[in-house]
Symmetry: C2
Subunit: 420 residues, 2 copies
């Protein structure tokens, strides 16, 4: 029997260019779904539930809701709050149930990565144990592309397209000035998995094209090899453009960004300072004797809806929509996944996976996607990511020439529970 | 009497999103101009002349030439080679004349900033002195927007639009995660003038909108005031997003990026390290006790043709085209300028200025464009820059989903002079 009741949608973890599109898919579908009555958003993910800070999406201008499809970041607010085990966070879990009960919430849609799926999974267990009827559905999101059980993650195609374009554009700068600023290092996100760095390889269409070297956390990083790689490219082209994932490390837990082990000092005993980009810049300047610039896009890379992938955006919407459809049909404790049926033409369908399986998994870049030298990618990687970068998202431009992004007015629900 | 002969076009200084559009304007107009016979490009600016490294643009695919309008960086190659006085660089100047003579070059179009206009000016003097008939025209280019004699510079509108959009998008990230990563610093280019930093102020439409604080090289920077500014915004909003020009300094020649004077150590005696963004990040983390992220777009900001201003692109083309038209009519020793006739509606026409005047001038952000506190901009600044950011440039997308940018095949002219 299908439960009737209100739903809460929430966003969690690092924002992406298209997490709002997933939210839009959930909201627009939930507003139509027969068993779902009110459609609410928790402000800042699960924290909004804990703080009873919840607003009514039915009260928002439908144009602002529609605008989610072309707005970056997380319009409901996000959080990095991880619930521990049911034993260790008992008061948190009971508080969540109290708030759900008070607002007749029987549907919970959580858009996030594996920590969020872990939280969603634990809520499933708790509500079963407490015999509180709650449908829990996970909606995948992460630029890192490291979720298990899905071919790829919404958010990844857009960061891939944008960063590859940045590498291409800044690469042309290095090329134009190759009498002067002849080396550039670009640091991209990806702490444990190198999917983001790997995607920039698509920009390397010919030997001339940046990036000439790509380093991923999956391959142990050595300064000696790095210097040799740079020298080789430099000898061939008179310039070098490097992309490095923020999580590159020596394979023994020493991260370049943390300056431990071999990264604490360079071959000449100079102390390394700063993050990955600054460190590699320093190495290049000293060892190649050329001026090196660096680029650290930081959070800008994951919010580039102004040049996002339409394929990614549409899939982000789809997984949100499907989560509601499955929930309305009685499914629970699952995350919507993406299954690639064929690559050429690209055909992708949705499926379902157990929240627990997603929560415990992690997907790294397979060795066959990385070249033998460990400093670039193979055709298999390019074939994998190219279909995910297709098409551009049309955004709305305001009279001042800049984009117009959704911001909600947030009509908060009346608080019915005691303050924490 | 008009001279008949070949022309050389060259690009100089830091690339921009639209310097190729100016090149396109020169080339397409020169190919039509009656007195101009061959249309050549010097590879890497004046260095290409000195090295007799010159290629024939008439041999390039017209589609690639047309593609310049949607390609960033400098397709002819650029340089940072500054010619000294006629006395000190006599051999260089004579070499240039030798190469011009050998290839019957009687028109020279130099696209660049004030150093390039200085070189162009000196060439004018030399050729007069040597009675070699040479028409020299300057075409303005600089993201820094600091050229004298012109309302604004091609390249500026695009970097303004792109950086303001980045601040808006990354600002939404800081807002979404304001339970966690609550501070962000974005470093932008602009060593002596703060035009680029100031333009991001357009994104600050409401008190909520990033950037909340903007620091320019024109206003002496104090760490104490900076900390107080950040604390105030933080108290109001629970987050803070800062834009800082790379050239911010204490007004006495001590640059934040160089860690001299008060910037060598912070108030607690901690040694400052890294560039502007890292330094401000360190200050915020220690003084506000919150995690701070930073963004350094580096050369990516000046090559963002994928989200450039169409107004800027069209004006860049126009100044190139006008340079040829004036040259064909016998003008020489001048740079094409932009004159704003009205702001609403925006009407802008071209005019001419003496190369020498441009070479010796520098235009900073006027005090009335900066707020009293020195941490933001006024309506006058917004009114100035908004018309320059209008419209988007349509780029060409390849089947892999990424942009397609022009690269020349470079049919080099046969070398006729002795090697240097």
């Amino acid at each position: 029997m299908t439960i009737r009741g209100n739903c809460i949608v929430a966003q969690s973890g690092g924002p992406t260019a298209v997490i709002n599109s997933s939210a839009c898919g959930v909201v627009q579908e939930a507003l139509k779904a027969e068993p779902i009555t009110g459609v609410f958003a928790a402000h800042n993910g699960i924290l909004g539930v804990l703080n009873e800070d919840i607003f009514d999406l039915g009260e928002e201008d439908p144009e602002q809701v529609e605008g989610l499809k072309r707005s970056p970041a997380a319009a409901f607010g996000s959080c990095r709050y991880k619930l521990k085990s049911l034993e260790d966070s008992r008061t948190d879990y009971e508080r969540i149930l109290e708030v759900f009960r008070a607002h007749h919430v029987h549907y919970f849609f959580y858009i996030g990565g594996n920590d969020s799926m872990d939280t969603a999974h634990k809520l499933t267990i708790l509500t079963k144990e407490q015999r509180y009827p709650l449908v829990v559905m996970g909606v995948p999101k992460t630029i890192d592309n490291d979720l298990a059980c899905t071919d790829h993650c919404p958010g990844y195609g857009s960061v891939a397209k944008y960063n590859a374009t940045i590498a291409m554009e800044a690469g042309r700068d290095t090329e134009a000035l190759y009498t002067h600023d002849t080396a550039t290092v670009m640091e991209v996100m990806g702490r444990n998995a190198g999917w983001i760095a790997a995607a920039t390889g698509v920009a390397h269409r010919t030997a001339e094209d940046a990036p000439h070297l790509i380093y991923l956390p999956e391959v142990p990083f050595s300064i000696e090899k790095f210097v040799a790689d740079c020298k080789k490219v430099y000898d061939d082209l008179g310039r070098v453009f490097v992309v490095a994932g923020e999580g590159i490390n020596d394979g023994e837990g020493n991260y370049v960004a943390e300056q431990k082990g071999q990264f604490a000092k360079d071959a000449f005993g100079h102390i390394q300072l700063g993050g990955v980009a600054e460190t590699l810049k320093g190495i290049i300047q000293r060892q190649l004797g050329t001026k090196c610039r660096y680029i650290k896009m930081g959070t800008a890379q994951r919010n580039g809806i102004h040049f996002a992938s339409k394929t990614d955006r549409d899939e982000a919407y789809l997984v949100g929509q499907k989560a509601v459809q499955h929930a309305a049909e009685g499914a629970s404790g699952l995350m919507v996944t993406l299954e690639r049926k064929s690559n050429n033409p690209y055909v992708c369908e949705t499926a379902l996976a157990d929240l627990q399986e997603v929560a415990n998994g992690e997907k790294k870049v397979p060795r066959e996607f990385i070249n033998d030298e460990g400093n670039g990618v193979t055709q298999a990687m390019t074939d994998y990511v190219t279909p995910l970068m297709q098409g551009e998202v049309e955004i709305k431009i305001a009279p001042d020439g800049l984009p117009e992004y959704t911001r909600f007015t947030r009509h908060n629900l009346e608080q019915k529970c005691k303050r924490r």
